[in-house]
C-alpha cells in the first residue's frame, strides 16, 4: 500500500508517454496526454493525504479535527483547469491542421516539410 500511489502515478505517466509515441491519430494522442496529466493529480493528492483524517471542510465539525492538506487540493484544482484548457487548445489545433493537411496522423504532420 505504501508504494501504490507512486506506482500508480508512474504507471499512468509511462502508459501515457507510450501512447503519445505510438499514436496514429492526433485526437488519440491528446487523450494520452490527459492520462499523463492525471498522473500528476494522483501524485499531488497522495502527498497531501493522511490516514484517519477528514476533508479540509470544517462546516459541520470543529477545525481541531485532523484534516488532509488543502494546499495540494487547491494545486490540483488549478492543474485540472490547465489540463482542460490545454486539451481544448490542442483539439482546436487538430481540427485546423486537418482542414489544411487533410490528415491527423502525427507521423505525417511535419512543419516546413510539404
Amino acid at each position: 500500500m505504501n508504494y501504490l500511489p507512486w506506482v500508480t502515478a508512474a504507471w499512468l505517466f509511462a502508459v501515457g508517454i507510450y501512447g503519445v509515441m505510438t499514436s496514429r491519430h492526433y485526437v488519440h494522442l491528446i487523450g494520452c496526454l490527459t492520462v499523463m496529466q492525471s498522473a500528476t493529480y494522483i501524485a499531488l493528492l497522495s502527498v497531501g493525504y493522511r490516514f484517519g483524517s477528514v476533508a479540509p471542510i470544517f462546516y459541520a465539525r470543529s477545525d481541531s479535527t485532523p484534516a488532509v492538506d488543502p494546499v495540494l487540493q487547491a494545486m490540483v484544482l488549478t492543474d485540472i483547469v490547465v489540463g482542460a484548457t490545454v486539451t481544448a487548445l490542442l483539439l482546436a489545433l487538430t481540427l485546423q491542421v486537418h482542414k489544411k493537411r487533410g490528415t491527423v496522423n502525427p507521423e505525417r504532420l511535419r512543419p516546413l516539410r510539404p
Binding site: 501504490l4 504507471w11 492525471s38 493529480y41 493528492l45
Partner: protein
C-alpha cells in the same frame, strides 16, 4: 480505509491504461469519461471533495464532449485540396 483506497488506485490505473489502449478515438472518448469517474471516486476516497467535483464536471462531461464534437467535425469535414 486501505481496503477502499487500494481498489481505487488499481481502478484508476486500469482505466487510464484503457484510455491509451482504446485506439479507436470514439471508444477513447468513452474511456476518458470512465477514467474521469474513476478518478473522481479516488479523489473522494482521498478526502478531496472539491477536486472530485471539478473532475466530475470537467473530466467526465466537458472534455469527452469536446473530443466527440471534434471527432464529428473531423468525420464530416472535407479537407480542401
Amino acid at each position: 480505509m486501505i481496503a477502499l483506497l487500494v481498489p481505487m488506485f488499481l481502478l484508476v490505473a486500469a482505466t487510464g491504461a484503457g484510455v491509451v489502449l482504446a485506439r479507436e478515438p470514439r471508444r477513447q472518448a468513452l474511456a476518458i469519461a470512465v477514467n474521469g469517474v474513476a478518478l473522481s471516486l479516488l479523489f473522494v476516497a482521498l478526502r478531496a471533495p472539491d477536486v472530485a467535483y471539478s473532475e466530475i464536471a470537467v473530466g467526465t462531461a466537458l472534455v469527452p464532449l469536446m473530443f466527440l464534437s471534434v471527432l464529428v467535425s473531423l468525420k464530416t469535414d472535407r479537407p480542401k485540396s
